[in-house]
C-alpha cells in the first residue's frame, strides 16, 4: 500500500503549494496525477520524494518512503536537464545504476549490460554512442525512461513525460510502463491530457492545492470531481477530445 498522510508543501516565499494531502492506493498499478496548471502536481511528487521541505509522512507497505529511496526512480521534466552535458546515451542510462552501487564500486560490465537492455526496450540501442544533445525530445525522453528501467526500482515517478514528444515515443513509453506493471512496479505519472486518462491509467489522483479525489479511474473521473478541480469550462474540452 502507498500511503500519503497529511502531506503539505510550503515554499520559502510562503506560497502554499499543497496542503492536507491524503492518499491510500494499492501498489503495482499505473496512476495518473492530474489537475490544472499550478495545482501542485509536481509539488506533490517532490514532497513525496523528500525533494522539498514538507509536513506529513509517506509510507510504502508501512515503511517510511525515506528508507526506501534506493527503490525509487524519478524522471523530472526534460527541460530541467543540460542537453550539452558531455555524456553519451549509453553513459546516461548507466547513471541509473549508480544509486544502487556501493560507495567505492564503479559501473562495470554488468551495469553496461543492464543499460543496453534498457535501451533496447525503448528502441534506442542504435543511438547508444550519440551525445544526448543530438536526440529529439521524444528520443531523449525514451533514454530517460531507459535510465529509470536500469535503476530496477519498485516505484517510478514521471513528471509530464509525454509533453512535446512524438506519437511513436509515447507509444513505446506506454508499452514499457505496462511491462513494468506486470513486474509489480508502481508507476505515478503527472499528466495533463485528460482525454488519455481512461486509456493509460488504472487509477487517478486529482489535485488542486489538495487531493480532491483518488482511486479507480471510473470513481475519480466524474463530472463532479473534474468541475471541482478545473472549474466549469472543462467539459467543453473533454467533450471535444473524446
Amino acid at each position: 500500500m502507498f500511503k500519503v498522510n497529511n502531506l503539505g508543501v510550503t515554499y520559502n516565499n510562503k506560497v502554499r503549494a499543497l496542503e492536507n494531502a491524503n492518499v491510500e492506493l494499492p501498489l503495482g498499478k499505473i496512476y495518473g496525477i492530474i489537475g490544472p496548471n499550478g495545482a501542485g502536481k509536481s509539488s506533490f511528487i517532490k514532497g513525496v520524494l523528500n525533494l522539498v521541505k514538507h509536513t506529513g509522512e509517506v509510507t510504502v507497505d508501512g515503511t517510511l518512503i525515506k528508507k526506501k529511496q534506493r527503490d525509487i526512480s524519478y524522471v523530472a521534466q526534460r527541460s530541467d536537464l543540460d542537453m550539452t552535458f558531455p555524456i553519451s546515451v549509453l553513459q546516461c542510462v548507466v547513471l541509473g545504476t549508480i544509486p544502487g552501487l556501493g560507495l567505492f564500486k564503479r559501473p562495470g560490465k554488468k551495469e553496461f549490460e543492464i543499460a543496453k537492455e534498457a535501451l533496447e526496450k525503448v528502441g534506442m540501442l542504435d543511438y547508444k554512442d550519440n551525445q544526448i544533445g543530438e536526440l529529439s525530445g521524444g528520443q531523449f525522453q525514451r533514454v530517460l525512461i531507459a535510465r529509470a528501467l536500469a535503476q530496477k526500482s519498485k516505484l517510478v515517478f514521471l513528471d509530464e513525460p509525454f509533453v512535446g514528444i512524438d506519437v511513436h515515443s509515447e507509444e513505446i513509453i506506454i508499452k514499457v510502463i505496462r511491462d513494468l506493471r506486470k513486474e509489480g512496479v508502481t508507476i505515478f505519472i503527472i499528466h495533463h491530457d485528460l482525454s488519455k486518462a481512461r486509456d493509460y491509467f488504472d487509477g487517478l489522483i486529482l489535485i488542486n492545492k489538495t487531493i480532491l479525489a483518488y482511486g479507480n479511474v471510473d470513481d475519480v473521473f466524474t463530472e463532479e470531481n473534474l468541475k471541482l478541480a478545473y472549474g466549469s469550462n472543462i467539459f467543453v474540452k473533454v467533450g471535444e477530445n473524446s
Binding site: 523528500n50 534506493r70 525509487i72 526512480s73 547513471l95 549508480i98 535503476q151 526500482s153
Partner: protein
C-alpha cells in the same frame, strides 16, 4: 629562445620547482574545473578563491600552515552561501556576492592590521618563483589528494552534476557531494595561491575546462583535455614569464585564454567557424 629556456630549466633548481608547481596546479585546476563548469558554479569558484583570504591572514597570525586556515575559512564561506540560499529568497548569485565580498574585505583588513610579512600583492596575483620547498611539497600532496578524491567519488560527482534531482530522489547524499566539491575547490585554490594568486585562480578553473568542453562529447575526455590544457598553459605561461620578465600568474592566464579562443573559433562542430560553415 626555447633552447635557452630549457637550458635554464635544467640549470636553475628554483625554476624546475616553479615549473613542477605550475604543472601540478594546472592539472588539478583543470580536473576540478570540469565539475565547476558543468554545474554552473564558475561564480562560486571565484567566490571561494577570494573568500579564503582571511584564512590565510589568520594562519600567518597564529603561525600555522596557511593551507589549514584557508581550507576552514573556504568551507565556512561555502556553508554561508548555502545557508543564505536555503533560508531566504535572495538569489544564488547575490548570496555568493554578499558572502565572498565580506570575506575578502575582512581578509584585506586583517592583513593590513596584522603587520605580518605577508605581501598582499603576492597573495592576490601569485609569484611561483618564490615558492618555498615546504609549500611546494604541500602543493603536490594536496594536489594528489584532490585527484584521488575525484577518482574515488567520480560516479557520484558525474551523476549529481548531470541530474542532482534524480540522484537525490534515489537517496544519494547530493548535499554532501556538493560540499565535498566545495572542499576540493578550496584546497585547489589554496594550492594555486602562490602560482596564480586568488584573483586569477578562477581563470585556471574555468578556462581550460571550458576549452575542453568545446572539444569533446565525453566526460572522461573532457577531464583529461582540461588537465592537459591547464598543464601546457602553465608551462608556456612560465616560459613567457621567465623570458620576458613577466608575472607568472597573469602570463599563465593569458596563455590559457589563447587556447580557449582557438577552441571557440575552430572547435569541430561547436566552434564559431564550424557553426557558420
Amino acid at each position: 629562445m626555447i633552447s635557452l629556456f630549457i637550458e635554464e630549466v635544467i640549470q636553475y633548481g628554483f625554476f624546475q620547482k616553479a615549473l613542477l608547481t605550475g604543472v601540478a596546479v594546472g592539472i588539478v585546476c583543470g580536473v576540478i574545473g570540469c565539475f565547476i563548469v558543468l554545474r554552473g558554479l564558475a561564480l562560486m569558484g571565484d567566490a571561494i578563491s577570494h573568500a579564503i583570504l582571511p584564512g590565510v591572514a589568520i594562519s600567518y597570525m597564529l603561525g600555522i600552515n596557511f593551507f589549514v586556515g584557508a581550507a576552514i575559512v573556504g568551507l565556512i564561506a561555502a556553508f554561508g552561501i548555502g545557508f543564505i540560499n536555503q533560508n531566504s529568497i535572495v538569489k544564488n548569485d547575490a548570496s555568493i556576492g554578499i558572502v565572498f565580498s565580506l570575506f575578502f574585505a575582512v581578509g584585506v583588513l586583517l592583513i593590513a592590521k596584522a603587520k605580518t610579512a605577508i605581501d598582499l600583492t603576492q597573495i592576490l596575483f601569485g609569484n611561483v618563483l618564490t615558492v618555498s620547498d615546504t609549500d611546494r611539497s604541500m602543493t603536490l600532496i594536496i594536489g594528489a589528494l584532490v585527484l584521488i578524491l575525484v577518482f574515488v567519488f567520480y560516479k557520484e560527482l558525474v551523476l549529481t552534476s548531470f541530474d542532482p534531482v534524480m540522484a537525490e530522489a534515489s537517496g544519494m547524499k547530493v548535499g554532501l557531494i556538493h560540499y565535498l566539491l566545495m572542499l576540493m575547490l578550496t584546497l585547489v585554490t589554496v594550492v594555486s595561491l602562490q602560482t596564480v594568486g586568488v584573483v586569477l585562480v578562477v581563470s585556471l578553473l574555468i578556462t581550460p575546462a571550458s576549452t575542453a568542453y568545446l572539444l569533446t562529447y565525453r566526460m572522461s575526455t573532457m577531464i583529461f583535455l582540461s588537465a592537459l590544457i591547464g598543464a601546457v598553459s602553465a608551462i608556456v605561461g612560465l616560459f613567457f614569464s621567465f623570458s620576458f620578465n613577466l608575472s607568472s600568474g597573469p602570463s599563465i592566464v593569458v596563455v590559457a585564454t589563447v587556447f580557449f579562443i582557438l577552441a571557440f573559433l575552430f572547435a569541430p562542430r561547436r566552434g564559431l567557424i564550424a557553426k557558420y560553415l
